[in-house]
Symmetry: C2
Subunit: 378 residues, 2 copies
């Protein structure tokens, strides 16, 4: 007999398999647009990296030294002074490492609600109890967090403060300061997951929580600004905790692919990633606008939605007693797809919610997909 | 406060850092010989794989379909009928996935003694209690295992049955049958870790435990026959357990690098890996012979050592009350290194033991290194 795990496969990943018919215009995924990958630049970087025989060998758990320096310099340049990072096999691995290092079975993890569901899975698998914290258009509510902290004594707060998955919301600077102060006062860790922060289409950057509190583990990723297939993420944490996380990673996979790391280091050295990200922002911004502009003519009156300044997602709530999981079946009959919102809730789901991604379709495709959706909501 | 993990960094990996001075002839590592990597073939495979934009995208957790088929066909061809595998980020990840899926905190894991120490770390991190089982020149002793099983009710037996790390020993066919029968009778899982099985320099292959019992999780790797830097392993398990392990992997890192997997699939399709492995066996076999032949003139009388038919390691025990960790300091002063045996023991270490790897030095370098070692033991 093997133990029965209390978690199931990700409903979103399972759904993606069902919505992959080529005739479906899918707003379900959380994928970067493949036509915007810098394939030539990346292939050239692998070719350069693979002139050095040592990229085929085992390597230190911490990660490629050049890549760590380049990432740390990039974070520093963006206003988060960073002396070192741990390279991870995507940010998803960083979540598992943090859960292993910081959570005893039965520990409490506070999360914004709704939140990234693969994080929920990861904390559940670590045996943690998840306690949701309410938020609004400005992100997680510090007053609600204070109540949860005083009642539940969480070991960790997990959040995506900038262009959150699934809501697209950004936590305000004032709230970041309040949350950082709470973390200091009550000695819990803040896990600041920031895969989308560079994908900003309007307004100006808000300083990361990690820049105002040392009780923060900051997670970054190459997946949304570069290429997710390379599975490269990074983790910034206070020195003691970083050392512990290196040991946990050693047991998890010894180290991340030496080849992918070396190629990423070459890519960052030989290319202007900022310019690439600027191109992404122009394209994605236009797609965001196309979706937001089409919404009033698509969804029922009294539907509410977020108005994200960046990232990949719009989060919506339909009026009345509806279940978006049922509506999805109808949508698929019209060759269009979204993600029902229920799986993003840690405890009590709101079945009238759903998530739409605007990154993988062009403005024209978005217009067509929204026209199909309008028939579903009619 | 974060929890204090009860495991430390790998003493072998820490040691490797200390022995990396270029003037040191190191028998300490467990690395493949870099000069034997097929760098040109691998670089060409990445170049072909990177003509397809989809290798930069997210991908299914199970792994690249072509790679899974090629690996399954290869296992089947080697006498282990296999319909599917899960691709892992090296075999090390497979160990962590198996520990997460099969071990409740406090579960018992039986291991051969001595054994691969990163496996010990991994099971300790999962909160398991490790119980060692004695063995001899023919590998793990089934009678000793029966006693442990009856007394301790392990959830899992972990072993490297072919050219074990650190001993180089191979479990006999008769013992494999006995152990498989015990696993069926007492419903524990056998985790058969087989990174070295194809590196055989004499004698003929012994069928894997997985070919005689369904209660087996079989782990394979590209690291010793291809390139460890690509971090590619695979896991074969009964269908139900495989499905559970896919879910665990989803939380661990979503999936293994799409790029590395696609490159490996291209490599296996366009190259003759069997011919490459045959070349490795010729080279490594000569290195093995060089080390074994030099031993009588190097170590003290009454030293014992294993005489491996393949793999990478010779395991030795010095006579008398000595500590090989102290001798290592003396060895480093003579610019030669080995690994003290103590960390490979789950419970009570035998400080007179040590491990020597013969793969990363040529026969001439081995002769020189052994001459330096002779001065240490004089």
């Amino acid at each position: 007999m093997h133990r029965t795990l209390s978690v199931a496969s990700s409903p979103v990943r399972d759904l993606l398999a069902l919505t992959s018919r080529p005739e479906v215009i899918s707003f379900a995924g959380g994928l970067p647009a493949p036509e915007l990958f810098d394939l030539d630049g990346v292939r050239a970087a692998y070719d350069v990296a693979l002139r050095d025989r040592s990229v085929l060998q085992y390597a230190p758990t911490e990660g490629n030294r050049a890549l760590r320096s380049l990432v740390a310099a990039r974070l520093t340049g963006r206003g988060l002074p960073t002396s070192d990072v741990l390279i991870t096999t995507g940010s998803q691995q960083a979540l598992t490492l943090v859960a292993t290092a910081l959570l005893e079975p039965g520990a409490v993890v506070a999360v914004e609600e709704p939140t990234y569901l693969a994080a929920l899975q990861c904390f559940q698998m670590a045996g943690a109890r998840i306690v949701p914290v309410a938020g609004d258009a400005d992100g997680l509510d510090p007053a609600a967090l204070r109540s949860v902290v005083e009642a539940e004594r969480p070991a960790m707060l997990y959040l995506v403060p900038t262009f959150a998955n699934p809501t697209g919301r950004t936590l305000s600077a004032a709230r970041r300061a309040e949350i950082a102060a709470l973390a200091e006062e009550h000695s819990f860790w803040v896990v600041e997951d920031d895969p989308y922060g560079e994908l900003r289409y309007r307004g100006s950057a808000v300083a990361p929580l990690a820049s105002i509190s040392d009780r923060t583990v900051y997670l970054g990723s190459f997946s949304k600004i570069g290429a997710p297939g390379m599975r490269l993420g990074w983790l910034r944490a206070p020195e003691d905790l970083l050392r512990t996380l290196v040991i946990v990673k050693q047991a998890a996979d010894l180290h991340t692919s030496t080849v992918d790391q070396a190629a990423a280091a070459v890519y960052l050295k030989d290319n202007d990633l900022d310019a690439h990200v600027a191109r992404l922002c122009v394209e994605y911004g236009a797609r965001r606008d196309a979706m937001i502009e089409a919404l009033p003519g698509t969804v029922p009156v009294d539907t509410t939605w977020t108005d994200p300044d960046g990232g990949m997602f719009v989060w919506l709530r339909l009026p009345g007693d509806v279940d978006t999981a049922e509506l999805l079946q109808e949508a698929l009959r019209h060759d269009v797809a979204f993600v029902p919102g229920a799986p993003f809730f840690a405890t009590t789901p709101d079945h009238a919610t759903f998530r739409m991604s605007f990154t993988t379709n062009t403005p024209d495709e978005i217009a067509e997909g929204m026209a199909r959706l309008a028939k579903v909501f009619r």
